[in-house]
């Protein structure tokens, strides 16, 4: 699939998940029943356009609410999306991933992170998932037994961009409440946006807890990537084309693969397949 076609799908997905367009003018968020259903990507439910709930925000909301020690519903939703698609969601459906893709298209000279920093840093997102999304909202409770959404409050750049900025621009009441926390979150957002011009998807690689959860399911998801070894000439074009740094020939369904299809397009012999069917089943269907 061509990169531009994927970008159109990403744009459509971002629009569909933020179809409450009038909210951007009125400064109010949607109160529709659709918000009891999680969307697949990282999309803040306090975005004026959001028509569904962010899975990571919802998970923290239930865990920090003081009534439950586990969220069956949101965990089930994340498992369902993950086992069906894996990180295909990151590559095609996540609005914040799309934004990072657009920023990387800028013709600035690109940087690479040295492997000795890159490799351990990839594990940060699992720590973010375990500590900021699960442990702290669940365990760090205030005097009334209610916790805080630590990831959303202190780290999530999507909430600042999609929720904070449009709501503060359109709502004078909220504007009056801006303080240190907003400055902190703006600094994080700006840092990630600037880094996204120089590095490919830094937030997805190092910090996104939803990408971490879907990455763990990449190996067993119904949607898969595969290499037909009888066609592969080991030219390495696939690995050179992968901006996520996946060792395609060794581990094509790695937790880091966002299933963007760059390796598939780069392969000169058509040895890389993707989809819900195994390559041999696909060939049988075609004949």
């Amino acid at each position: 699939m061509k990169e531009s076609k994927r970008n159109w799908i990403q744009a459509a997905a971002a629009l569909l998940q933020n179809a409450h367009i009038s909210g951007f003018v009125t400064g109010e968020i949607s109160t529709g029943a659709g918000k009891q259903v999680c969307v697949p990507g990282l999309n803040c439910y306090s975005c004026p356009g959001a028509v569904g709930a962010c899975p990571i925000g919802s998970l923290q909301a239930v865990l920090s609410g003081g009534r439950r020690g586990f969220s069956y519903y949101v965990t089930g939703m994340i498992l369902l999306f993950g086992v069906l698609f894996g990180r295909l969601i990151c590559g095609f459906l996540c609005p914040f991933g799309f934004l990072q893709d657009l920023l990387y298209k800028n013709h600035t000279r690109k940087k690479t992170v040295p492997p000795r920093i890159d490799r351990p840093a990839r594990y940060l997102k699992y720590a973010v998932l375990l500590i900021l999304v699960v442990a702290l909202p669940l365990l760090a409770r205030g005097p009334y037994g209610v916790g805080e959404p630590w990831f959303c409050k202190y780290l999530c750049p999507a909430g600042t961009l999609e929720g904070g900025i449009p709501l503060i621009l359109a709502n004078p009441g909220l504007r009056a409440m801006v303080g240190f926390l907003f400055s902190w979150k703006m600094a994080i957002l700006i840092a990630i946006l600037v880094l996204s011009v120089l590095l490919y998807r830094p937030f997805c690689k190092y910090l996104c807890p939803l990408g971490a959860a879907y990455g763990l399911l990449n190996k067993c998801s119904f949607y898969r990537m595969s290499v037909d070894k009888s066609r592969c000439t080991r030219c390495g074009a696939c690995e050179r084309s992968c901006k996520m740094g996946v060792k395609v020939l060794k581990n094509i369904n790695s937790a880091e693969c966002i299933r963007c299809g760059a390796c598939k397009s780069a392969c000169p012999t058509g040895a890389i397949h993707s989809g819900f069917l195994k390559p041999e089943e696909k060939r049988q269907k075609a004949t």
Partner: protein, 52 residues
């Protein structure tokens, strides 16, 4: 000791996870968690937008 999943069982993992996901969603719906998510999602989350 080798803790890797045997090759024969690998294809079954995705079906187990799929069933588990559906069961968890059903349990959550039964316990009224969807309403809890809705309640949170229809109000502006001040922490999420950075003013809470």
């Amino acid at each position: 000791m080798n803790h890797r999943i045997p090759e024969l069982l690998k294809p079954a993992v995705k079906y187990v996870v799929l069933v588990l996901a559906v069961v968890l969603i059903a349990l959550g719906l039964w316990q009224g968690e969807a309403g809890e998510v809705l309640q949170k999602a229809v109000h502006i989350c001040l922490e999420c937008i950075g003013v809470g």
